[in-house]
């Protein structure tokens, strides 16, 4: 009873041409799916910290793949850049080379990754004032939190842990290991608190940055 008609089957998924990435699904389809992810994980854990960790792990997988996808997709611009380098020097800024510097990768996450995944660049990117290794990406309302309200007894739990996992996945795969967490920051005059993704880079990243000058 299993149906299997063949329409242009590729022997290997890697041989299939990479799509342009313009396909869309409805927001409610994603919201339903995400709610099932959270509900399933709630049945598997005993406490909030464990739930956040599981959501983060799920996001990590998404982030790692997202980085690969974005870096491969923009390759065609790189070739065009090489051909036109004599005539159009300002095109050199296009193309997704893999970032090797801290600020580069942060702005990649803040702009490119956010634009592809959530349709807009993140609201702000700030450097932490208290610690050298901390940076914060803020968003007024994370896409994943749009239809979620946290009951009082769950305290500081934030489903943005999924997005924190995505960021950690991107940074880790790009060679910038970090601890990434999501926090609610209450804002005056706003009913819903802002969400801040706090990125704390590992020692080795800062040492490497210092060495690169």
């Amino acid at each position: 009873m299993i149906g299997a008609s063949k329409i242009k089957q590729y022997s290997n998924v890697l041989e299939k041409p990479l799509s342009k990435g313009k396909q869309e699904v409805s927001l409610s389809a994603f919201a339903f799916l995400f709610s099932e992810l959270v509900q399933y994980n709630q049945t598997q854990v005993d406490n909030i910290a464990e739930l956040e960790r599981r959501l983060e792990d799920a996001g990590y997988a998404v982030g790692a793949r997202c980085l690969e996808l974005l870096c491969h997709r923009e390759k065609v611009y790189h070739i065009i850049v090489k051909l036109c380098v004599m005539f159009m020097p300002f095109w050199l800024s296009q193309g997704n080379r893999r970032e090797t510097r801290l600020l580069g990768i942060l702005s990649f996450v803040h702009s490119t990754v956010w634009k592809v995944l959530f349709g807009k660049v993140a609201d702000s990117l700030e450097k932490g004032t208290e610690h050298e290794d901390e940076y914060m990406i803020s968003e007024k309302e994370l896409l994943v939190n749009r239809f979620i309200s946290i009951p009082k007894d769950m305290g500081t739990f934030n489903c943005g842990a999924f997005v924190a996992g995505i960021v950690r996945g991107v940074l880790d795969s790009a060679g910038f290991p970090a601890v990434v967490t999501a926090h609610f920051v209450p804002m005056e005059g706003q009913q819903r608190p802002r969400t801040t993704i706090l990125i704390k880079f590992a020692e080795e990243v800062l040492r490497r940055e210092a060495r690169l000058g």
């Binding site: 869309e24 699904v25 389809a29 799916l33 099932e36 509900q39 997202c66 995944l117």
Partner: protein
């Protein structure tokens, strides 16, 4: 005041908020991976995916009915057509077609040419027998149950799942056999 007519899937899809399909695809992949790690048995994962789909379907049908303005379907053929043309289009952005009707008109296939759930997916040999898109079967089952298209009592749950949740593990094509054996029409 005359009621507004039913809207086409394309029109509804254009009017709803949309997100990048890749976020959706990768999130679903993360869910399946988590289930495989937790449950390990492919059959258990299939059941869990179906259950998740069912939970989605019972809520999704409200949004479907609210946004699409479809009138009550007169027979199962119309139900299947509406689910394929309007339902799949407005949520997944891809149209589906209905084929393979049996003689009594109680069993059909809904075929998705371009399934956003299976982008970039290749099943390893250890996961043969995994119905990767089983969540879609659950969604249809949940949605139909909420609008009173139910199997008769003697039908065993496993058989119902077999009829409803069969799909290929190959990407690019998704077949759903819907058998509705008790029609309130």
């Amino acid at each position: 005041m005359a009621p507004a007519g039913p809207r086409s899937g394309d029109a509804i899809f254009a009017s709803v908020e949309r997100v990048n399909a890749e976020l959706f695809t990768l999130t679903y992949g993360a869910i399946v991976r988590q289930l495989l790690t937790d449950l390990e048995e492919v059959d258990e994962v299939n059941k869990q995916l179906d259950q998740m789909g069912y939970n989605i379907g019972i809520r999704l049908v409200d949004e479907f009915l609210a946004k699409s303005n479809v009138s009550r379907c007169v027979d199962f053929k119309e139900t299947a057509e509406v689910s394929a043309k309007v339902g799949f289009k407005m949520f997944l952005g891809v149209g589906a077609s209905v084929t393979n009707w049996d003689a009594e008109g109680t069993c059909c296939s809904i075929v998705l040419e371009d399934n956003p759930l299976v982008d970039f997916v290749e099943l390893p040999d250890t996961c043969q027998g995994l119905y990767y898109c089983n969540v879609l079967s659950g969604v249809i089952r949940g949605a139909l149950e909420m609008v009173s298209v139910c199997p008769p009592m003697p039908l065993s749950p496993s058989l119902f799942i077999v009829f409803l949740g069969l799909l290929t593990s190959l990407p690019c094509l998704f077949d759903v056999y819907i058998c509705s054996l008790e029609l309130p029409f």
